[in-house]
Symmetry: C2
Subunit: 124 residues, 2 copies
Amino acid sequence: MTQPSKSELAILKILWIEAPLSAREIQEKVGPQLDWSFSTTRTTLSRMADKSLLRTDTKHGVRVYTPVDSKAHTLSGVVREFFRTVLEMQGPLPTAAFHDSKMLSEDEWMELDRLLNESDDDDA
Amino acid sequence: MTQPSKSELAILKILWIEAPLSAREIQEKVGPQLDWSFSTTRTTLSRMADKSLLRTDTKHGVRVYTPVDSKAHTLSGVVREFFRTVLEMQGPLPTAAFHDSKMLSEDEWMELDRLLNESDDDDA
DNA sequence: ACACATATGCTACACATGTAACACGAGTCA
DNA sequence: TGACTCGTGTTACATGTGTAGCATATGTGT
């Protein structure tokens, strides 16, 4: 499972709040913030679909994008990788640290907690 | 301040334990682990020096490398960046989370704690 | 003086990512 | 039907990083 880059994560964050969205809709949200042209947004979306970070469907004749993996699932991978490579901490992680993240609702936090502390097989 | 990549971090970790070291000495430690050729190690070291992640000196006619920034300083930047971009947590961070890291001695952990919780000006 | 090991300078190439333009087809409106 | 807009396919180019080779200088032992 390829980890999302910083830009890809920005797009995922939007789609986790509201999906599916079209390239145009995503651009309207992410463009100003990241200072991207529409082309840039489209290229990034396209690559994300190639990497199976996003799934595409057609709604009303327009392509729309949906995250393949849930926020908690994706973040657990990113967080685990970070702790492993940077801080050399394996196994269960101190998930209380993430409780203050505005990214996560209580439910999402609990799921993240579960994912970060379960055994290291995550490919389902 | 450019953040170190994963490979660069691997080299820094060695040099934080013992520095200065020559390219050959670093290769002996990092080569087997990362499965790198000597050339690869050298290229990476060279780029790290370019980016001022490492300082170079000449000892006994051989170039040796030393980290420019301390472990706690560097890690605080990496950790802060991670929490900000991934989890959108700014300001003081829950440093207790890192207490279990094998990377950090008690002293280093305290310094990291201090760096992560002080105001956001870190360029000294 | 010569051979050999080692250190260093320089170059190379592939892939990921950031960032974007151009061209073409389909719908829309005057 | 011609001009426009919008969605999409395709291509492009720079920079960073992974990964490495070749050539040359220099020290060292015989």
